[in-house]
């Protein structure tokens, strides 16, 4: 284990770009160290910080296990990865980007299903007719279970979906989905609608500290330095 503060940042996509802009605006210059294709980096003038570029879901894993001290990733992934989220990480700062709602969506033609309570009743009838439970395609298995239980919906089954979840009902892989959406356009294009009380989480990217990482007084000092730079910044969309 290095004695540096490990900062995990998104390695690709829009989140990476937005994150780079946020750090830029704070005057933190992040550079790849070693090979330009490598996954390690450093911050100019902060020799005690080691940057790891990894995928957003890996960042959540890193924070969960304490492999990283700090990280930037979506609240949806953090809450999905850790059922005991508040005990393992501290949410330091919402970043103002990466907005996405995790929602329950059903075929828009289901005009009889508008709320979660309709879903439970519909699921009961579905099982009588088809002899099996209604399937929910999602990559958010934990968020789905928790939310459905909270709403008293039990008569369903989760099928894990690792991509193009919104297409699962039309493909016959599930009857409904729990997916992320920003404008709802993708859901609509796939003939789906969000239930009235079906918003599970209004998520965005957060700067997060791991509570289980190996913190030393020295690293806490480094953390304060990083936060002081980021804390004063204003994010313009």
């Amino acid at each position: 284990m290095s004695d540096k503060l490990v900062l995990a940042l998104p390695s690709k996509g829009r989140l990476m770009e937005q994150c780079a802009r946020m750090l830029d605006a704070a005057g933190l210059v992040v550079k790849k160290s070693g090979s330009p294709r490598g996954y390690k980096g450093e911050i100019d003038g902060m020799a005690d910080v080691e940057v790891n570029f990894v995928s957003s879901s890996e960042i959540a894993q890193f924070l969960k296990s304490g492999t990283a001290h700090l990280g930037v990733t979506g609240e949806d992934l953090l809450r999905e990865t850790m059922t005991d989220c508040e005990e393992r990480v501290a949410f330091l700062k919402p970043c103002g980007f990466g907005q996405a709602d995790v929602v329950v969506a059903v075929p828009a033609a289901w005009i009889d299903v508008r709320r979660m309570s309709d879903l439970e009743e519909m699921a009961m009838a579905f099982r009588r007719v088809h002899g099996r439970r209604v399937r929910v395609a999602t990559k958010y298995m934990n968020l789905t279970r928790h939310f459905f239980a909270h709403k008293g919906v039990t008569g369903y089954r989760i099928v894990e979906s690792l991509g193009a979840t919104e297409g699962a009902p039309a493909a016959g892989l599930s009857e409904l989905v729990v997916d992320i959406t920003t404008t709802g356009a993708t859901l609509r294009a796939n003939g789906l609608k969000v239930l009235d009380d079906g918003t599970i989480l209004e998520s965005q990217a957060h700067l997060v500290a791991s509570k289980v990482a190996a913190w030393t007084p020295e690293l806490r000092r480094v953390e304060r330095d990083v936060l002081a730079r980021l804390g004063t910044l204003r994010v313009d969309e």
């Binding site: 059922t83 075929p107 828009a108 033609a109 289901w110 005009i111 009889d112 299903v113 508008r114 309570s117 309709d118 439970e120 009743e121 519909m122 009961m124 009838a125 579905f126 007719v129 088809h130 099996r132 439970r133 209604v134 279970r145 459905f148 239980a149 008293g152 039990t154 008569g155 369903y156 089954r157 989760i158 009902p169 039309a170 016959g172 009857e175 003939g191 009235d196």
Partner: protein, 392 residues
């Protein structure tokens, strides 16, 4: 699971042999259902709450499998593999591992890998007699291992069903209330909805559509709904059919025209659910509760009483047994008599044995029609812990 002391394994083994001996002498055939089960069927039957605690994995061919979270469903499958109709009477006993993820960490009272010793009886015609026989045998097996002090806790979903059947309301309302029985909050919400005219009115569905749906003419509904979807540019896809949507809209239209449940009827249902008393006083207490409402569930009460008498005759003292109308084990598949055996040392949250009647499960697993079934299993690690404590 942490490595076990050889002594513990030996003690469990010896205890299992005694339990199985008792079951076998009573005429139960010993079976060993597969540990690895098809996830799809299992999870369809047990529901998402147990799914969250079931170890599911994918084999190299992409088949979704699970480690059995209990032995009842595997025993049902084994029975159906032998008799496709399921209706051939059979009695099975088993002793084997079950696996459940414990959120928040496994403990000795709630391990993630544990051994169940149990019995299942299928297709016996006399339900009360079979309920009593199964519980009496479990009690006998526990006594055989040396357990002396324990308490019986009873519930009976048959009584609740009888109450709903005796009250005037549409069949779909009964179905909903029965469905929500296990979930107190949702149950109360549903009851409140059924007593309120405004809550029964459908919201969010186009008036022009609802006005045209006539509960007296259900055959016209799919066509009306189809025309509405076309006109609204909504395309229906997937497994759920037009007639299922039409059926629910019709039910909503019917609900809107229905007289809501009278407040005193809702109060009676809530009063019933709240009943907790010694099992021997339950029938009289429930009869007294029903009398002012002129609600007749005498047949169900007589069955309940007869079961108690049969238990006493079989050597199970019901004088100390407790009855709770809302007592149930949150597995969703129970349909009638349910029971738990608790001991003081472990408390009510960690019963040493439990079971009940589940007349719908064999059909859910593939039988062509419902088959009477009742079963029970003993949590063997807990039993050993109690016996160890008593010996010390």
């Amino acid at each position: 699971m942490p490595a076990e002391a050889a002594q513990q394994v030996e003690a469990l083994e010896a205890q299992a042999q005694r339990l199985m001996g008792t079951f076998a002498r009573a005429g139960y055939e010993q079976v060993a259902p597969a540990v690895i089960q098809p996830a799809g069927l299992f999870l369809d039957v047990v529901g998402e709450s147990l799914r969250a605690r079931t170890y599911v994995f994918t084999d190299p061919e992409g088949e979704e499998l699970c480690l059995r979270p209990d032995l009842t469903v595997p025993t049902c499958r084994l029975h159906l593999a032998r008799h496709a109709s399921g209706s051939v009477p059979a009695r099975y006993c088993y002793s084997g591992s079950a696996f459940r993820y414990q959120p928040g960490g496994a403990t000795s009272a709630h391990p993630n890998e544990f051994r169940q010793a149990g019995i299942e009886s299928f297709a016996a015609a006399d339900r009360e007699a079979d309920d009593a026989a199964v519980l009496a045998l479990i009690v006998a097996a526990l006594r055989e291992t040396g357990l002396k002090r324990f308490q019986l806790r009873f519930g009976d979903l048959g009584l609740f069903t009888a109450l709903l059947d005796a009250l005037p309301m549409p069949a779909r309302w009964r179905r909903r209330l029965r469905h929500q029985f296990w979930r107190p909050e949702a149950f109360r919400a549903e009851l409140a909805r059924l007593t309120s005219q405004t809550a029964l009115a459908p919201e969010g569905v186009a008036r022009q559509l609802m006005d045209r749906l006539d509960p007296a003419r259900p055959e016209a509904a799919p066509g009306i709904v189809e025309a509405y979807l076309d006109q609204s540019g909504l395309e229906l896809f997937g497994t759920r059919t037009l007639s299922e949507i039409a059926e629910r809209l019709l039910a909503q239209a019917a609900d809107a025209r229905e007289t809501p449940l009278a407040p005193q009827v809702a109060a009676l249902i809530e009063g019933y659910v709240a009943v907790k008393c010694p099992a021997r006083e339950a029938a009289a207490k429930l009869a007294a509760l029903m009398r002012p409402h002129k609600v007749d569930i005498a047949a169900a009460l007589a069955s309940f009483q007869r079961r108690l008498d049969l238990l006493d005759a079989a050597g199970v003292d019901t004088g100390e047994a407790a009855f709770s109308a809302e007592f149930g084990r949150n597995l969703e598949y129970y349909t009638g008599f349910v029971f738990e055996i608790v001991v003081e040392k472990l408390g009510p949250k960690s019963p040493v044995a439990g079971g009940g009647r589940y007349d719908g499960l064999l059909a859910d697993v593939g039988a062509p029609a419902p088959v009477p079934a009742v079963g029970s299993c003993i949590h063997t690690e807990r039993l050993l812990a109690v016996m160890g404590g008593e010996a010390a």
